[in-house]
């Protein structure tokens, strides 16, 4: 009696419950997807800030090269160019701050998926969503490191112009300062590379996660 009459509806009912679970996860996934997209949208500002920083940095470098091409007899022009380079450097410090804030906003947006991720029932999907959060955390850590290094680098750069401005210029001391700047830049490039590796992983993980929706 049970086999013939009740088993088919029972099986159908179980299947419908399972599908109902899938449906629940799909809704969560959609919510998560929306937030991730918003975060990626916010990273456009992060890219734009970096583009602005790059333009300013190129101007600062060009001004440094121009300073080097002058002679000590061109003292007025020299002073004007040093002032100009220091101003670029100060503006770079501000733009770096903006860059970090843009990234932090995108980061905070990703963190808002936490409650939704906790509710996901499918273990594999949950793991993938958690992996995304972890990779964003790693990007955030590297960004903190990058910001600290860049700030120190700009302080060294500021110190360089103070040395060039001195009455009694000491070329050895200036070269030591430049060596410190270049060394700091090389260290920062390593952090940039690490950040970009995490970004690649994050983008791949995001693609994999959203592909399944």
């Amino acid at each position: 009696m049970f086999k013939k009459v009740l088993a088919p509806p029972f099986i159908i009912l179980m299947a419908s419950f399972a599908l109902s679970g899938c449906n629940h996860d799909a809704e969560l996934a959609e919510k998560i997807h929306t937030k991730l997209e918003k975060s990626a949208q916010l990273e456009k500002a992060f890219t734009q800030d970096q583009q602005n920083l790059l333009k300013l940095s190129q101007k600062e470098k060009l001004t440094y090269d121009e300073i080097g091409s002058l002679t000590i007899a061109q003292d007025r022009e020299l002073k004007r160019k040093i002032d100009e380079a220091e101003e670029y450097n100060a503006n770079m410090t501000q733009l770096l701050q903006d860059t970090k804030e843009s990234f932090d906003e995108a980061y905070r947006q990703v963190l808002t998926i936490h409650p939704a991720v906790n509710k996901i029932e499918q273990p594999e999907e949950k793991n993938q969503a958690n992996k995304l959060i972890k990779l964003m955390e790693k990007r955030h850590d590297e960004m903190g490191h990058y910001y600290k290094q860049y700030t120190e680098l700009l302080q060294l750069n500021h110190g360089l112009y103070d040395l060039i401005r001195e009455e009694e210029v000491n070329p050895d001391e200036i070269d030591d300062q430049i060596a410190a700047i270049n060394q700091a830049n090389n260290e920062m490039l390593k952090t940039e590379k690490q950040f970009n590796q995490y970004t690649n992983k994050y983008n791949k993980a995001k693609k994999k996660y959203t592909y399944k929706l």
Binding site: P9, S16, N23, S57, P171, N185
Partner: protein, 303 residues
Amino acid sequence: MRQRKHLNRKGKWLVFAIMTITAFIIAVLVGDHEATKAKQSSEPISSLSAAPIIPTFESKEEFSNSALNQSIKEKSLEEKEALIAEKRKDQREKEQQTKAIYLTFDDGPTSHTDQLLDILDQYEMQATFFMLGPNIKQYPDAVKRMANEKFGLGLHGISHNIHDIYQNSQSPTKEMKEAQQILENVTGIHSPLIRLPYGSVPYLTEEMRYSLYQHEFTIWDWNVDSEDWELGDARYVQTTIKEIEELEQSGQTPVVLLHDKKETITHLPKLLSYLKNNGYHTEKITKEIPALTFTCNGRCYAI
């Protein structure tokens, strides 16, 4: 015979109702699920990527290679040379009163230095020695004697090879610092007085000169070349006397280039007798005396 049980009409209706409701639920759920999927697939999935860091800072070229640094060095050298020239004028006034002359001996010490010192002592004459580091190590007793007898002590580098000492902007400074340390180890005297092998023109470039000044060295050249090295015999005495007399007429204090070597020492008494008979007063070079240094004036070049 097995008896089959059949549902009555009520039972049939119940099964039918259950199946209908179940089918309805499935239809709604699956339909909704499919609709969600359809809705999602109609939108572009994850079109945006997280952004990388763009390298925004470029490394800088060394300042020492810049035109600005070159001009700073040139200006600094010009100022220093002008200052020394000014001080030399004042010094000349003092030297004129005593009829001063500076005798300088390069390349020592040697196995003949003791004999040289004996002759100088005999004539009660002062002199300054520009010595090579390895020779100071080889003849430390001769150098100690010079120090004890208050002769002037200076440095002549290490290699005495133009391809070594004039190799790069820092190599003259490096050699002089090394020789300075050797002299200090032997005598306890820290001397800033130097003479470059073959003089400071033409091989000592402005870069090298600047570096030496940065390290507080005082560069001494000469205005009387005895030519003892080339002539190798008594003729150098006549050459030297002739040059001293010419210099005296032009109002300059003679700084005589001689070498610590056997042939020079052999004929030195003749020169010293001349100086004594003509009222010259030999002085030793100290760090307080403004140096007589050749100026490049565009003649200096790197090897």
